[in-house]
Symmetry: C2
Subunit: 243 residues, 2 copies
């Protein structure tokens, strides 16, 4: 039975971190909310679960994964669950907690990126919080983004198994998520990301290596990969980037 991924259609958003793992592994999955209503898919199918009064374990928000009867919400939790099944987790039990910890740091940075364009309220338009967004983005680019990138570069360099992977000596879902982070930052903040390759050589090499993996390359060239846009987490607003 295929995995069912539920996420808002029309944007990469948080769902993309899950898609990359499923695509790399060549897993059989349905992107339910993007599917046709006549097959019982579409956004209504997603809302039916979120609003269910009988479902035993309702998620708070998308993305969530359905595997048979089990519903698993939150990106890091989904990847924790899928990792061993897709052969994208460390073999070592302890290292799985290390991987999960790294993924949760990615979760944090993703929330911070979202808040660069929505610092006041998700319920307001960007245009109605633009001044606060400029202030928050300036702080993010000056203090937070370098802190996170420095950190991941350091983790790569200090990996006792070498700097080709962020944890252990083989590809994990965390490597794929780091690829997506670099993609997203480059889209949203091209000026602030200028010099990324020379400033963060290990991260940049990891990014290049992931992009060249056959299943990832095929996915990125397919219609399943939604282009970055201003409905997602990573948005390009010229006025929020470096001048």
């Amino acid at each position: 039975m295929p995995y069912e991924l539920y996420y808002w259609p029309g944007l990469q958003g948080r769902g993309e971190f899950v898609r990359l793992a499923l695509e790399e592994a060549g897993a059989d999955y349905i992107d339910v909310a993007r599917g046709p209503e006549k097959k019982g898919q579409g956004v209504d199918a997603m809302m039916a679960i979120l609003e269910s009064n009988s479902e035993h374990h309702i998620p708070f928000a998308p993305p969530f994964l359905k595997d048979g009867d089990l519903i698993i919400p939150h990106v890091a939790n989904i990847l924790l669950y899928l990792g061993p099944k897709l052969d994208l987790s460390p073999q070592d039990e302890d290292l799985r907690y290390v991987a999960n910890g790294l993924q949760l740091t990615i979760t944090d940075i993703v929330a911070e990126v979202h808040d660069t364009h929505h610092p006041i309220a998700n319920s307001l338009y960007y245009e109605d919080q633009k001044d606060a967004a400029k202030q928050r983005s300036a702080d993010f680019l000056r203090n937070r983004l370098p802190k996170y990138l420095d950190y991941f570069e350091r983790v790569l360099r200090q990996n006792p198994s070498g700097d080709r992977h962020i944890v252990g000596d083989r590809l994990t879902y965390v490597d794929l998520s780091l690829f997506q982070l670099a993609e997203g930052f480059t889209y949203a903040f091209p000026r602030a990301m200028h010099g990324f390759k020379t400033r963060y050589p290990a991260l940049a090499a990891l990014h290049d290596a992931i992009r060249e993996r056959p299943n990832i390359m095929r996915y990125l060239g397919s219609k399943r990969r939604i282009a970055f846009n201003e409905g997602g987490i990573f948005r390009h607003y010229r006025e929020l980037d470096y001048p």
Copy 2:
């Protein structure tokens, strides 16, 4: 060997969710950054790990747990790891993902609460972002807090094992974290939380039941429980609460 918890001294903060689990279980642990320097503890001991150039798996930020050589960062990850050891996880493997998903929703709300007083930058004083904080808090209290509390009340009510616990039929670390959420919201936003017991009867009953557990009651009355204060996540600023 005792568990070593590393977190900023002087505030409950995110560390408190871990402390409650350790205390409920009567586990042997050291709150390292609050310990004496002459024993090799204190904040310097925590910073030494965060800034280490040789440590294999460095955390991005506190809190983190050290169990022997293994370092585990992030509250939800620490609780995922400790849960089975402290007998505070569901027995059922699938339900452990449900518990982790709920804990990650708590992680999200905690980040949102933090941003009610720091919507622009962690690096700025509250006083320097007070106007944005008022706007963000107003939205949080109007849209987000009720959405989260409605959700948890619903999850309790829809728990097929009954509404005494948020997942399964026994105490888990998620119940303890929900207790802490209610404590924190009541401290930070006493006016907005007015009527909590009648509006959220299942959550309120869970909160009362946790407070009366012997180990929790003993902990809350001890010097180990730091009082809420304006250095933590849950801060009481009169102007951010309902009028």
